[in-house]
Amino acid sequence: MSNAASPPAAAPKTGGAPPKYKRKLSNYLLDAKLQLRYVLFVTVLSAVIAGALGYMIYSQRHSASASIEHDLGMEFHTEMQDISQKLDADDRWLIYKMVGVGVGLVIILSAYLTIMTHKVAGPLYKVSMYFDRMADGKLGRVTPLRQGDMLQDFYQAFSDAHAGLRTRATADADKLAELVVKLKEPGGGDEGDYRGEAKSQLTAALDDLGKHVEQRKKQLA
């Protein structure tokens, strides 16, 4: 997750339509460990299957060639060398074709799996970026996933949780700011000792809370 070149999604600080992030070839292996595990397994499986099938078809074809060679050898002694070479060339061509098909199979499956796992790794990467921001106390806006991404349900759960935290934090910050203002206001019929050290301590505490709220509001922006 953390080995990608650059973050794909930076949360915009203002509202409006979310920016569209296009897929880039260089970012297809966002989570190499996760993605390559799938790719490697399927690649090995495909190679084994293609190899086994290839061996069987080659042995069948080779026996046919040997049979032809044997039959023709009885009638065409002189041309036998040419015939034998041609049959061997045919058998070799079959091997090349099978290798080509096997490599094609592996490439197609690997490419497919890379794309599919990218559709999983992409949202995970994006969410992990938001998680990092949350770790720093930042609860900015969340942009939706790209079209075709998987894990939409998970992302929706994350968006809901993020929105809940953000709403509550915003409400708390607003409320605290309001309470700081109220507590800074003198009077109100209070009979307490609103002077001296207690006053200065309260003022300091309210200043601290005010700064805290301001910082929180910045993080929520």
Binding site: M1, S2, L34, R37, Y38, F41, L45, I49, A52, L53, M56, I57, Q60, S63, A64, S67, I68, H70, D71, V101, L105, I108, L109, Y112, V120, L124, V127, S128, F131, R133, M134, A135, G137, M150, L151, F154, A157, F158, D160, A161, G164, L165, D172, K175, L176, V180, K182, D190, G192, Y194, A198, K199, Q201, L202, A205, L206, D208, L209, H212, R216
Partner: protein, 303 residues
């Protein structure tokens, strides 16, 4: 209260394998479908090659010449038949003076009838035949039918048994080879089918199991996210052994810790204000009461 440890051993259950059906089935079915298509294409090509190779070999085997069994030995001299009485050639008999048609030239002398026939013939042909065809008048004649001699018994070849053995040996080998070719083609077909099924089932199982290792942590995080949405910041436990997305989970734990740290900072700041307000004798103010309520809520969210 949750236990102090970060590890809670939840065992995997097959009932929970499809924990996130949408993601897991979408991933797995697409992979299985693609593999099936590729296997079908590959199978058609392989069977085409196999059929071609098999047909070539079959043609070769069916064209194998096992030879014919020669029962009679044509090269051996005919066996001498038992001596038969000399067959008299049929001679037309003339009962009057008219000339009979001339028979074929008489064979070797020694036969009275033959000589007589020759004389008669010569007489009938006038001047052309004079001394070799003497007209013979047979007064009495007797014909004795003689049965033709039986044909000589066929001479069997000396190597007849060997020939039969070789012939059927050849037929057997050919038949065995044909069976082998059919069996080879059938084997390829069955291996193709079994391999295809194995691939599909294997990929389905692999896909579900692997996606489960991804879906499991996601499910766990989703539960925590639900709690966070509702304002409950419970303790976060570690993943199960073998789960994937360990790094991603670490990111989540950092985020959770960040939110908890924010709440704790809020709590500390609010507590400080409440304590200062109470020290200043302002504890009865509604604003302080609101701060207390907020503090209680925030403290409860961390339980």
């Amino acid at each position: 209260m949750p236990p102090a440890t970060d590890n809670r051993a939840y065992k995997r259950s097959w009932k929970n394998l499809l924990i996130n059906k949408r993601y897991q089935l979408q991933f797995t079915l697409f992979m299985v479908g693609l593999s099936t298509l590729l296997m079908i294409g590959l199978g058609i090509w392989v069977m085409k090659e196999a059929n071609e190779a098999t047909n070539v070999s079959l043609s070769s085997e069916l064209g194998t010449n096992c030879g014919t069994i020669e029962v009679i030995d044509d090269t051996a001299p005919a066996v001498a038949a038992p001596a038969a009485p000399a067959q008299e050639p049929a001679v037309p008999m003339a009962t009057d003076g008219s000339a009979a048609p001339a028979p074929s030239p008489a064979p070797a002398a020694g036969s009275a009838g033959s000589a007589a026939g020759s004389a008669g013939s010569a007489a009938g042909s006038g001047d052309v035949v004079t001394e070799h065809h003497v007209k013979v008048q047979i007064e009495e004649s007797e014909m004795v039918p003689v049965a033709p001699p039986p044909p000589p018994p066929p001479k069997l070849r000396n190597d007849l048994l060997q020939q039969i053995a070789d012939h059927w040996q050849c037929k057997l080998v050919t038949s065995t080879n044909i069976d082998k070719l059919h069996a080879g083609r059938d084997r390829i077909l069955w291996v193709m089918i079994l391999t295809g099924l194995l691939l599909v089932l294997g990929l389905a199982g692999f896909g579900i199991k692997m996606t489960h290792k991804v879906a499991g942590p996601l499910f766990k995080i989703t539960l925590y996210l639900g709690k966070m949405r509702d304002g409950r910041l419970d303790k976060v436990y570690n993943l199960r052994k073998g789960d994937q997305l360990v790094e991603f989970y670490d990111h989540f734990k950092s985020a959770h810790a960040g939110v908890v740290a924010n709440e704790k900072a809020d709590i500390a700041a609010i507590k400080k204000v409440i304590e200062s307000a109470e020290a200043a004798g302002l504890g009865a103010r509604p604003a302080v009461a609101e701060l207390r309520a907020m503090l209680a809520r925030k403290e409860k969210s961390l339980e």
